[in-house]
Assembly symmetry: C2
């Protein structure tokens, strides 16, 4: 059975997966790159990086994944639907390498990129989007790529099997919080926490057999 | 120099140090006792308990402490100022064993308890309250005992040297959040995180030399 997974979603101590305001100059707002520095330091990100616990978690991002679903605000800054040439932040060869479904109320035709990534634009419920992505994944797993809004929506809809958050030791104070609406998450998921020498803490949530 | 310390303040993954509503029957609201089970399991709490990392942190609660400051909502449930006989939750011999200052807009005369605890009631700013408590502590340290509102106020006023939070793997969704107003805490504190086999993660914040 195809599983639905979230990986490497980086949050502040107070639970924000992005700062604010999001813009073309600052995709993560006042958070800057601070939420992701732990990942930039790993071998997953760049040759010569660390190969310890942070890397062990980071590499799972691509393992057995056949499609990604992301939110409109991950795909581009506010206003991107007005720019017919916008193709995402990631240049000609985005790091997804699979069909990638962008949830948006402003859908447009698919965009084929280098390296196996094709962006498809969907105005659909989480259930419908997952059915479409799972079909495209051809039996492999589907990654919910973020941001926090989309992750929350899929968790709330009961669609996520594995959730990996990385808590970074900063307090952002504002942004989009991943926890809102997730009261009682521990009832449906087994939770583990493990802190890394780098200073971050990896939190994993695995759906309990029901 | 007398230092100001917070110990064993237990929070949910989403940062709540209590659930809601607080009442005489449920001092922590819908959180029940879930925020403190890690502590009940330690030798600090009861003979025969664990003596690992959770205990190592827990025992610091009393080490070198000469006074405590707590908030009105830790001292009693809503409405306690209307009950002239209310003497706190803790019975005749409260676990403070020092002068203990309750911040309240409804002060009353001091109450002497067994075991060295005397409750004093103060309507004062954090600075004034700390000066009074430090005087009573006679050179020993002052503990800020909670709840989250009072801890936040003392941290924001720049008065806290050491802050120990214990993150429990539950999502409460509502209550009083410790993080609100603490944006950028990592700039003035060195932060460490260490997860325990019990499932909780200990976070320590130590004021940087300025
Ligand atoms: N910390 C991390 O690891 C991480 C990971 C990924 C992203 N991010 C960051 O997080 C931010 C984005 O997160 P976010 O929470 O603001 O937004 P998001 O989850 O990326 O996108 C939310 C938006 O997607 C569209 N959408 C969501 N569900 C939909 C549905 N069912 N049907 C149609 N449209 C739907 C809506 O946009 P419209 O109504 O405008 O179409 C909605 O406002 C960015 O800054 C990004 O860089 C961080
Ligand atoms: N998770 C933990 O480890 C932990 C630790 C301790 C307590 N708790 C729980 O946390 C809850 C209480 O926390 P809380 O955040 O709601 O409240 P709190 O911090 O205990 O008390 C806040 C109240 O104290 C009074 N106060 C604060 N500063 C004052 C000042 N400068 N001058 C005069 N009065 C002042 C005000 O009450 P009035 O205006 O009504 O006088 C204010 O509403 C309780 O459920 C308690 O059991 C949890």
């Amino acid at each position: 059975m195809s599983r639905t997974r979230v990986h490497n979603l980086s949050i502040s101590l107070d639970g924000f997966a992005t700062g604010e305001p999001q813009s073309a100059e600052a995709p993560f707002g006042h958070a800057g790159e601070r939420l992701h520095q732990w990942m930039f330091a790993t071998r997953f990100w760049a040759e010569g990086g660390t190969a310890g616990i942070d890397d062990a978690f980071a590499v799972r991002h691509s393992d057995g994944i056949g499609a990604e679903i992301m939110g409109a605000n991950k795909f581009g800054p506010p206003g991107w639907p007005d720019d017919p040439d916008w193709k995402g932040w990631w240049g000609p060869n985005p790091p997804f390498h699979t069909p990638t479904f962008v949830l948006t109320h402003h859908p447009r035709p698919p965009i084929e990129m280098d390296g196996g990534t094709t962006f498809h634009f969907l105005d659909a419920t989480p259930d419908e989007a997952l059915a479409t992505a799972a079909e495209a994944a051809g039996g492999r797993d589907v990654r919910i790529g973020g941001g926090a809004t989309v992750v929350r929506d899929f968790v709330t809809a009961g669609l996520v099997d594995h959730l990996h958050l990385v808590q970074v030791p900063i307090v952002l104070g504002r942004g989009v919080r991943v926890w809102d609406g997730l009261e009682g998450l521990e009832e449906t998921y087994a939770v583990e926490a493990v802190s890394s020498p780098s200073g971050v803490t990896h939190l994993t949530f695995d759906k309990r057999a029901s």
